[in-house]
Amino acid sequence: METEQRAFTGWGRTAPTTATLVRATADELAGDAILSGMIGDRGAIARGLGRSYGDPAQNGGGAVIELLPGADPIRLDTDAGVAHVDAGVSLDALLRTMVPRGWFVPVTPGTRFVTVGGAVACDIHGKNHHADGSFGAHCIRLGMMMADGSHRSITPDGDPALWSATIGGMGLTGLITDVAFNMIPIETRHCVVDTERVPNLDTLIEKMEASDHLYRYSVAWIDLVATGNSLGRSVLSMGNHASLDELRELNPKAATHPLDFDPPIFPDVPTGVPNVLNRLAVRAFNELWYRKTPKSRHGTESLTGFFHPLDMVGQWTRLYGSRGFLQYQFVVPFEAVDTMRTIVEKIADEGHASFLAVLKRFGAESGGLLSFPKPGWTLTLDLPAGVAGLGRLLTELDELVLGVGGRHYLAKDAFATPDVVRRGYPRLDEWKAIRDGVDPDGVWVSDQARRLDLV
């Protein structure tokens, strides 16, 4: 076990606070004596790879626990199709083990560099949410270290209350130590993907409504710099895992080693780069991205190319300069599609260049009391934090989102207020009651929990 004093931020690199970093395996942390000796009155929170955008994995003045994988961190039960994984294992490490054996994770976000523990705590979603739901929906057992230092093994049926408070509970019910979840069998490391250019938002909405159910994976990238008739012009990408036969037909070369998986690791963007993702650069990028996409294409893409394109550039967020950036993600119910359209218009009109804007349709809820996804449209955009007037715009958007029963994603949040969360998550009090029951002294706490009055 090692400890060190360090400043932490989230992936957006805003609002730093200093805490004591504790790096240890679950076994090293075990026992009441060690835990209480390490955690003072400022409590502790787990931190995975720090990919949450705001402050959920930092804890000013307290302890930040980086849970190291144990001796045998990845145990695949291929008969049952279940993975037993230590919480500190990254999806990158996991996929390097699973894919060559013909298995895939049930849910992956846009990066492989998240931990399994974080995937549960944030109840992450991916391009298959409309078909498969969020990560928590595929979990069958969680190992946890509770506030009193004891270990618990919980299941959805055996501990329904604690389960629903922990899936999406932002690590505030206990330290997640290991996770068992169902895997997806795959024949190849490729997807069959249909990509098409869509001229405007209305057409995009129609197309997604009409064809989402035909694909396991579906997402649209929107050019939020385009206005007028081109408002909401986009690239729609929909796919399924490629069977070996499909791969042989579409990409015979790749079919000779269908399950090879060894994505390269690229060098990081250096520190100290100024904000180069300014309006002009983003406009140029978006134009290029749209133009380079053929009108429509049917072909194969590798798992990494399809799911994790941004992992190609290490520490890419440094391109936003020293003020950092934030990501704004909300969901509104399907029937509030007009509100989603209004928001897209507002952002395009205000001219806040968004480098990434992603639209997706969500499916069913996972049952996590603080889980973000629910049926509806979800839009994600990232915006440089240094832009004047951005706070005012986001406050306006908050009202639009909450007004139609929508809500915001806590893993992306760096700006919400207690009121915004309370209105977006009607079962917050139920969650608090369960949390207070398992952690009466407030051992598990984060900067976000303080900021949003979650604890």
């Binding site: 200093t18 400022r42 003020r323 950092g324 706070g391 700006f415 900021r451």
Partner: protein, 248 residues
């Protein structure tokens, strides 16, 4: 806790009647702002206008010269309100003309402006260090950069406060807590009412804007107006007979 735009939720003002502090609080107000604590002698209700609806304003008793009480005072404020995102040290007296000759009056002025600043500053710093974040904004003055014959005792107190603040900032490096020292020139406020304006005079709102920009940029020293940084780079080194002549 600060949000991604460095907007605070909780602000404590030591010297809760200060016009400049009120202007700074207004400048820092956003939908994120929850609580403003105005601390001043007596602790009776002080109005602060121009804040968004829903911001809770609390007035509490604070005596800058009661040094022994400062640590307990900060603990009490934190117990009630949680972490302090920004603390503005805004109390201070100008003193009458007698402070330049009367040892007792001068000692009293030092007691408020320097000793009080040091003891309350340390009490605040302890809390900010403990919570791993937060900014102490210290309202110093250009009067402390080079002391003028006409108010050299006041200038000396500001020099003492300023040196303490910048030193504390260095001492806190790596703790997550920060200090921002603010050096306004002549500010048209209640404290300077009836006095002749000095060159580069400005309003409390100008100081507040400079403070807000400094907080966003994580600056350790802010001048208000900004041009005074360069003016005083020169004034600091002009010969003594010129300096005396400039002080009419």
């Amino acid at each position: 806790m600060m949000n991604a735009f460095d907007q605070p939720q909780t602000v404590l003002v030591l010297g809760g009647r200060s016009d400049i502090a009120h202007a700074i609080v207004r400048q820092l107000a956003s939908p994120a702002l929850k609580t403003v604590i105005l601390a001043h002698r007596g602790g009776d209700a002080v109005a602060i206008d121009g804040l968004p609806e829903g911001v809770q304003v609390a007035c509490v008793a604070f005596d800058a010269t009661d040094h022994a009480s400062h640590a307990a005072f900060v603990d009490r404020v934190v117990e009630t309100n949680g972490d302090l995102d920004i603390v503005i040290q805004a109390f201070g007296q100008l003193g009458g003309p007698e402070v330049n000759t009367d040892p007792t009056a001068a000692g009293d002025l030092v007691d408020v402006n320097v000793t009080g600043a040091v003891s309350s500053g340390l009490a605040v710093a302890g809390q900010l260090r403990n919570q791993g974040h937060g900014v102490l904004v210290v309202l110093s003055s250009v009067a402390g950069v080079r002391t003028r014959p006409s108010n050299f005792v006041y200038g000396a107190t500001k020099a003492g406060q300023d040196a303490f603040a910048t030193g504390l900032g260095h001492a806190l490096a790596g703790s997550g807590a920060r200090v921002m020292t603010v050096r306004p020139g002549f500010v048209r406020s209640a404290m300077t009412e009836g006095m002749d304006e000095a060159p580069f005079a400005c309003d409390p709102t100008d100081v507040a804007e400079a403070v807000a920009a400094g907080l966003r940029g994580h600056k350790s020293v802010v001048w208000a107006p900004g041009v005074l940084r360069y003016v005083f780079a020169v004034l600091r080194v002009v010969p003594g007979f010129v300096w005396r002549k400039l002080d009419r």
